[in-house]
């Protein structure tokens, strides 16, 4: 039988309340400063490096994001590390926090469905992350304009913008994961530890472990299968997916993210950039994978939340 009324009743109210909570919270301020300072360092490093090395690159502006100068990693590498941290920081106590403050049953006794609460919290946190990322993105571009003195081309801007969207999708994955943990674990500390553990595992350990796992199942003699399996396994980590998306979008010379067969190289001019749309097509499976991962994780949290007892 169908439920009466809309599942989204009260959604806007929850989103606004959560947004104002996030923007006013100390936690958010600390995370923002962390991101801004580290990213600025990386961009500064990149700019000095770019000035020294590449003079005639048609995509000079995109180098801002990807160039690293020892000992600092590149802006993109920083983001792939810090975005999960921000997302987890915003999501790990979304639901269990309401439980522990004993506000959950009071809020749910208002004429709204649980859907509105969970979805509202997700949207609010994602909007918060997007706002910070957009601000950061504008900051980097502004710095680039001032310090490089070269205006970016239309395609560069388009690529940089797509990169921003992908970063937001990447943040969505970690946010959905953190919210799932906040539903499953009654203690906020447990939820935070579990998500941080998973994050470390998926970002640091898994890329190193994937080849070893492949070796256990596929013989290295069959090179193509071996490579493909290794890559498939590595792609279970959202960080790998994000890294590949960024590579395809920000480095226009990237023609493929997998192994290349000789037949595919026929007629190709090595080192020439791909048109924007082709680059998007190269990264398309990864982009879809990121979005799908956030949806699956959110649905998991949603189902668990619907079945959960509200009593403290």
């Amino acid at each position: 039988m169908q439920r009466e009324g809309s599942a989204f009743q009260g959604l806007g109210v929850v989103v606004l309340k959560e947004l104002s909570d996030h923007f006013g919270s100390m936690r958010m301020r600390i995370l923002e400063w962390l991101v801004v300072l580290t990213a600025l360092a990386a961009v500064y490093g990149a700019i000095t490096q770019v000035r020294d090395v590449t003079a005639e690159d048609p995509f000079l502006f995109l180098r801002l994001f990807t160039t690293a100068r020892e000992p600092l990693p590149s802006f993109v590498a920083f983001l792939s590390f810090l975005v999960p941290l921000m997302a987890i920081g915003l999501g790990f106590d979304a639901v269990n926090g309401e439980h522990n403050r004993r506000t959950l049953s009071r809020i749910l006794s208002q004429p709204i469905y649980r859907d509105a609460l969970l979805f509202g919290k997700f949207i609010a946190a994602l909007v918060t992350l997007s706002v910070s990322l957009i601000a950061l993105w504008l900051l980097v571009i502004g710095l680039g304009l001032i310090m490089l003195g070269v205006p970016p081309g239309g395609e560069e801007m388009a690529r940089a913008f797509l990169f921003l969207l992908v970063t937001i999708a990447y943040a969505g994955v970690w946010l959905a994961l953190a919210m799932l943990a906040s539903v499953l674990f009654r203690s906020a500390a447990t939820a935070a530890l579990v998500t941080l553990g998973l994050w470390l595992f998926l970002t640091v350990i898994w890329p190193a472990l994937a080849p070893a796992v492949t070796e256990a199942f596929v013989s290295p003699e069959n090179q193509a299968t071996f490579l493909m399996t290794g890559q498939m396994l590595a792609r279970l980590s959202p960080s790998t997916l994000f890294g590949e998306c960024v590579l395809a979008l920000l480095d226009p010379t990237t023609r493929t993210l997998g192994p290349v067969y000789l037949s595919q190289l026929q007629g190709a001019v090595m080192g020439t950039p791909l048109p924007l749309w082709d680059s998007v097509m190269v990264a398309w499976p990864q982009i879809v994978g990121l979005i799908a991962a956030s949806i699956i994780l959110f649905v998991g949290g949603y189902v668990a939340f619907q079945r959960q007892e509200v009593r403290a």
Binding site: G10, D21, R106
Partner: protein
């Protein structure tokens, strides 16, 4: 009351099963408009589970519940629009002020800004929190939080209030104030369903009570009815007097007195069929004693409850 009372909450065979245990077992009761109905019993007897099922916050395993004729499983929004709920040890957002907390729930109810600006100060004034409306809830005492929870119900203009352990964790003064507020709600025509494990405190406000034990309703009715049912009826009159001769014999000879006990020198406790205070006083004076105190003991819920379960256990032992 002369007018025919409409039923606002009705539970028939209401049951909640978990994997291993039955938390609520075929519970039947109904709450009439304008009355205060108490669900009483020890912790873990199934009171909160029953309340959550009535609100549609917990699935019903078997049986039916109706709130204003709506099924909380199928039409939870219709139920939740009309019912105000004060959870056990209610929580608020500590970083927001009392008024802002109410603004948030009022917006969830879909109240317009104009309505909120009118109703929220009104509700806060009703529960005596008007002067701390702008203060952050983080600094509130337990009693203030409970009152803020009541203010939410007042603001909602709910026709039924469901209060789960409203006096839990309150000092005597705060819980008396809260019970006064509950009486005031009733005077406004709000029907109230409240749960508590503090029998005596709540006895004073309830029109009817249901005593829960292990997921079932053991006894239901007015406190007097329960007293008659369990204690075998009767009134207890206590007489304190000094001096005089043969007071005990004279009191025992009164028609309607079943027994006389003397718990302490100068004190007599009579068990009688009706209220015999006037007669007992006259006899004591006639015996030449100075009457110091005269009182009629209402049967206390606590006594009823303990006696009932003593009886029930004794019967089990007999059967075994």
């Amino acid at each position: 009351m002369s007018e025919a009372r409409e039923t606002v909450i009705e539970a028939k065979g209401l049951t909640k099963r978990y994997d291993t245990a039955t938390a609520v077992d075929s519970v039947n009761f109904s709450v009439a408009a304008g009355e205060i109905f108490g669900l009483l019993g020890p912790n873990g007897a199934g009171k909160t589970t029953t309340i959550l099922m009535l609100l549609g916050l917990s699935d019903i395993s078997a049986g039916t519940a109706r709130v204003f004729g709506h099924d909380p499983m199928r039409e939870p929004l219709a139920v939740k629009r009309r019912v105000g709920y004060l959870p056990d040890l209610v929580g608020f957002y500590d970083q927001l002020s009392a008024a802002d907390n109410l603004h948030y729930t009022a917006r969830l109810m879909g109240m317009s800004l104009g309505e909120r600006k009118r109703r929220i100060p009104e509700a806060l004034a009703r529960v005596g929190l008007a002067d701390v409306a702008g203060k952050k809830v983080g600094a509130f005492s337990r009693g203030m939080r409970q009152r803020l929870g009541l203010a939410e119900i007042v603001m909602k203009d709910a026709r039924v209030a469901i209060l789960d352990e409203p006096t839990n964790g309150l000092d005597p003064q705060a819980s008396l104030e809260l019970l006064d507020l509950i009486r005031a709600l009733k005077a406004q025509g709000v029907s109230i369903l409240l749960s508590s494990h503090l029998l005596d405190r709540v006895q004073t406000v309830c029109d009817r009570v249901a005593l829960f034990n292990a997921g079932k309703i053991a006894l239901m009715g007015t406190v007097e009815e329960l007293g008659r049912q369990v204690l075998g009826g009767g009134y207890t009159v206590e007489v304190e007097a000094s001096g005089g001769n043969g007071v005990r014999e004279r009191l025992a000879a009164l028609p309607g007195v079943r027994s006389v006990e003397q718990p302490a020198p100068g004190r007599w406790r009579l068990t009688c069929d009706r209220d015999l205070r006037a007669e007992a006083a006259a006899e004591a004076v006639a015996a030449g004693a100075r009457l110091n105190q005269l009182s009629l003991d209402q049967p206390s819920l606590e006594t009823i409850y303990t006696r009932y379960f003593q009886k029930a256990q004794a019967e089990v032992r007999h059967a075994a």
